[in-house]
Every structure is written in C-alpha cells, then in structure tokens.
C-alpha cells in the first residue's frame, strides 16, 4: 500500500519535472516573454500613475501609488505562472481524438495535467516571475512586506492561484467533449479572465457592487489574491481561504465532468 502511494507520487513528480523541462528548453522564448512582460508593465504603470497624478496623490481603492506600482509588477510576474491564455492543448487533443491516449493510461488525467502544469508554473516562477518583479524593485518605488512570513504566504497563494486557474481551464477544455470545438469558449474566457482577475487594474478600483460580485467568482483568486497577500491589502487568511474553496470546488467539478466525459467516450466511442 505504502509503496503504491510512493510510486503514484513518484509518477506525478516525474510528470511535473517533465513539465518544468519542457518549458525550460525554450530559452529564447523565455527571454522574449520576460522582456514583453516588462514592457507591458511599464505601460500599465504609466496609465495607473496618471490616475494618482490626476487626483494629486492619496489612495485609490485602498492602494497608494507605491502599492499600485508594486501591484503591477507582481501581476506581470504572476501572469505566466497563472497562464490565463493557455489551455488550448487539451481542447485540441479532444478535438483531434488524441485524448483517448491520455484516457487509456493508468493515471488520473486531471492529476497528470495538473502535475505538468505545476512543473510549468515552477519554471515560470523562476524565469518569468523574477525578472519583472526585480525590474520593478530596482526602477520604481516598491512596497516591501513588513513581516518575513508574507513572502512565504505569497508563494502559497501564488501556487493556489495557479491551481484555480488550471481548474477553470480544465473545466472549459472538457466542454470540447460535448461542443466538439471549445476554442470559442476558451477564447471568450481568455479575453475576460485576466481583466476580471485584476491584471489591468486592481479590483479595488472597481465600484463596490462589481467588487462584491467578483468575489463570488474564482477570478480574484487567480491574481488579485496573491498580490494582495504580498502588499498586505486585506486579511491574508480570508484571501487564502477564498482561494482554497475555489481550488477544491473547481477541481472536484472537473473530476465529475471528466467522469461523465469518459463515460461518453466509452459509450459513444468518441
């Protein structure tokens, strides 16, 4: 029993490592991506700073200028960990029928994909999170945490953000089993998710009703939460609990949907 468990963990660990390596080989793409994140960060900082200039300093939605700038750089760094714009691979495998290979293996496909995505995110954390954040620290005023536990909580929250994002993308990809082509659905998701997660502007800037509504969705858990944990905006515990709830909810839903998808494949032959 114990060796079984160990073998199982070893298997997913391997998959995660493979995910890490797979992305680590694209060195040129990584450099280009990090540079791109930085340029977009500069544009975002420019736009948000103009808000503070217009109102003569102070705070907007609970963020002062330094916090907002820090917010932008953390967001630019987290962007590729969270990966709003990915997720088409599974859809394509379902559409082309290659997915039967995944289903025929002795693993839980969701867990396997999550393991791979975690590996990918691990690489992104090293290669894509650090450059923009470092750039922001050096070039702009930066809001440092006043408590050594904050960075640790931030990493936990970032991991949860990635899991929530994976859970949502996985769910949407599965719709390809019924829609034949879920690229349209994913396209719409990709377009709105980053904004609703607080990439362009902190959700604190939104009017009160929109903020309340958004916290009933998983979107803030994908980006806003880890950033808020870092800049100590709001209660870290509440943010993390919100993330965990959504992670569990989305993953369970994905598991359920996967089961009925498999049944569909088995019964109807694809």
């Amino acid at each position: 029993m114990l060796t079984d468990v160990r073998a199982l963990i070893g298997c997913y660990l391997r998959i995660a490592l493979a995910g890490f390596h797979r992305y680590a080989t694209y060195r040129q793409a990584t450099v280009a991506g990090a540079a791109t994140n930085i340029v977009f960060g500069l544009i975002r900082v420019g736009i948000l700073a103009a808000v503070y200039t217009a109102q003569g300093g102070g705070s907007v939605g609970g963020y002062d200028l330094t916090t907002t700038v820090t917010y932008v750089w953390l967001g630019q760094g987290l962007l590729s960990i969270v990966e709003f714009w990915g997720g088409t691979e599974l859809t394509n495998r379902i559409r082309t029928g290659a997915v039967v290979v995944d289903l025929s293996r002795p693993w839980n496909p969701q867990a396997a994909l999550l393991a791979e995505d975690t590996g990918r995110a691990g690489f992104a954390a090293l290669a894509r999170l650090v450059p923009p954040v470092l750039f922001g620290m050096v070039v702009f005023p930066f809001r440092w945490p006043d408590n050594p536990w904050v960075p640790v909580l931030f990493l936990v929250s970032a991991l949860l953000a990635m899991v929530v994002s994976f859970g949502a993308r996985f769910l949407l990809s599965l719709t390809a089993f019924w829609l034949l082509d879920s690229r349209g659905v994913l396209g719409v998701y990709q377009v709105v998710s980053s904004t609703l997660a607080g990439l362009e502007i902190p959700l604190g800037y939104f009017p009160g009703w929109a903020r309340t509504a958004l916290w009933f969705t998983p979107f803030p858990a994908m980006l806003q939460s880890p950033i808020d944990v870092f800049v100590q905006h709001g209660s870290a515990v509440a943010l993390l609990v919100h993330q965990v709830v959504w992670a569990v909810l989305l993953l369970s839903l994905g598991q359920l949907l996967l089961r009925s998808a498999v049944r569909k494949v088995v019964v109807q032959g694809g």
């Binding site: 280009a32 791109t36 420019g46 907007v60 349209g184 396209g187 719409v188």
Partner: protein, 270 residues
C-alpha cells in the same frame, strides 16, 4: 502596379474561400466574434473604471479618451483583420510551410496575410465603431469638411500604421524564431498605448511608442484635431494631421524590413 492589383485579386479569392469555410460553422463563428468584441470591451471597461475614480487622465476627459480609444481600436482591429495571420509566421517557418509560400508566383506577404484570415476579428472593429458612434453622436463637435475627411482617413492611416507594425515586428521571427512574443510589445502593446492620450506616459517609453513606433499618429494627434485642441506637449499643429504620410512611411519601412527578412531566410542576408 498592375502586379499589385492582380495580387489583390488573388488575395481576395484566398480570403473569400476561408470566410466561406468559417461561416459554415455558424455558432462557432458567432462565439469567436463575440470573444473579439469582448476583448475590445475589456479595454473599454478599464477606461470607464479609471474614470469612475478621476475626472481626467493626462489632462483629457472621458469623452476625449474614448474618442482616442475608439480610433485606436478601429485602426488596430482593421489591421488585425487584414494582416493578423502573420502571427502564424513562426509556425510557417518551423513546419517548412514558408517554403511552399516561396514556391508560388505571388508575393510572400500577401500570401501570409491571407493564410489564416479570421473574419471573427471583425468583432474588435464592431465594438470600436460602436464606441466611436456613441462619442461622436453625444459630443457637439464643430464639423468641417476637413474634419469629416480626417475622420474617414484616420482609421485607414491607423490601419496601415498598425499593419506595418505587425509586419515589421513579426519579421524578427526570421532571425529569432522563438521570440514571437516580443512582437506583442509593439502590436498589442502598441494598441494598449495608442488607446490613451500620450500625455499619460512619460520618458523613453513615450518617446519609443509614440514616435519610433509611430503610435501618436494613430489616434492621439488626429483626435486633437477633431476636438480642436492643441497638444499639451507642444507639438506643432501641422504634425497632428500628417498621419497619412506617417502611414505611408511606415508601410515603406515595413516592406523593407520584410524584404530583408525574407532575404535572410533564403540565405543572402546577414
């Protein structure tokens, strides 16, 4: 010239065939088109949220910014529609499909632009047109013949400028195949930048995206003429209405870059 006309004829046939294909999957097309409309809307939402906090950005009110936003969106949307499939260039190079392009008696650029024509990209144009219509109908602008002409010419010049940016930036892939994302800094980043008055930004970022990449001529300068305002940054009045000239120069520049890039691919360059 005659060559350009027949090339255009062929381009039209290529595009028409793909549009027929896309329209045959009606629901998927509608959803994709909707996604593109939403993509343009998220930028609108950001602007509206920012203006719920302040009355002006970079010295301009919400109406002015929306005018700039819609002109920029229209230009970018049209360019994306016409040459957006150049995004596929790395795939073309990697799979050797670019060799097939070189084997046909047509210009390489026209073929690539027509290779993956996506009518759904009209979605962005529709949103931008809607906002433009709203802004124009609710503002009391002083309409002269010159201004009407400018209003017609601006999106076309902007389209040419953005198309040139797309082409020139994608050419980088001939040298660094994995660096496609870098092109996003000036294409999508350019679109982001041009949606705001350039007074919002500062420093070398403004110099680069407004003048080196001629983003200021897409929407900002023409909008100044339309609303009858002088440039707060002190640009001479004539500079505000030379967008068509800038467009022409960009097109020439992009064509040169593209030719060099193809030459490099075929082995005479570098």
């Amino acid at each position: 010239m005659a060559d350009a006309v027949t090339s255009f004829g062929t381009y039209r046939h290529l595009v028409a065939a793909q549009v027929r294909g896309q329209l045959s999957y009606r629901s998927s097309f509608v959803l994709n088109c909707f996604g593109q409309m939403l993509a343009q809307c998220t930028d609108l939402v950001v602007i509206l949220v920012l203006f719920s906090r302040v009355a002006s950005l970079g010295g301009f009110g919400v109406r002015d910014v929306l005018l700039i936003y819609s002109l920029a969106g229209l230009s970018f949307g049209l360019a994306d529609l016409v040459v957006g499939s150049i995004d596929q260039l790395p795939t073309f190079i990697r799979t050797g499909e670019f060799d097939v392009v070189l084997l046909r008696p047509l210009g390489t650029l026209a073929q690539l632009a027509a290779s993956d024509f996506q009518l759904r990209r009209l979605g962005r144009v529709i949103t931008a047109l809607g906002v433009l219509g709203y802004v124009l109908s609710t503002s009391d602008l002083d309409w002269t013949v010159a201004r009407v002409a400018l209003l017609v010419v601006t999106p076309l010049a902007g389209m040419v400028i953005f198309s040139s940016i797309f082409v020139a930036a994608s050419s980088v892939c001939f040298w660094f195949i994995d660096s496609r994302e870098l092109a996003n800094t000036v294409t999508y980043g350019g679109s982001y930048f041009t949606s705001y008055p350039i007074t919002v930004f500062t420093g070398w970022l403004r110099t680069f995206l407004a003048y080196v990449v001629p983003g200021a001529f897409v929407a900002y300068y023409p909008a100044l003429v339309l609303i009858g305002r002088a440039d707060p940054l002190g640009a001479p009045t004539w500079l505000c209405s030379v967008s068509p000239v800038v467009a022409l120069l960009s097109a020439l520049g992009a064509a040169t870059v593209w030719r060099r890039a193809v030459r490099h691919y075929r082995g005479t360059g570098s």
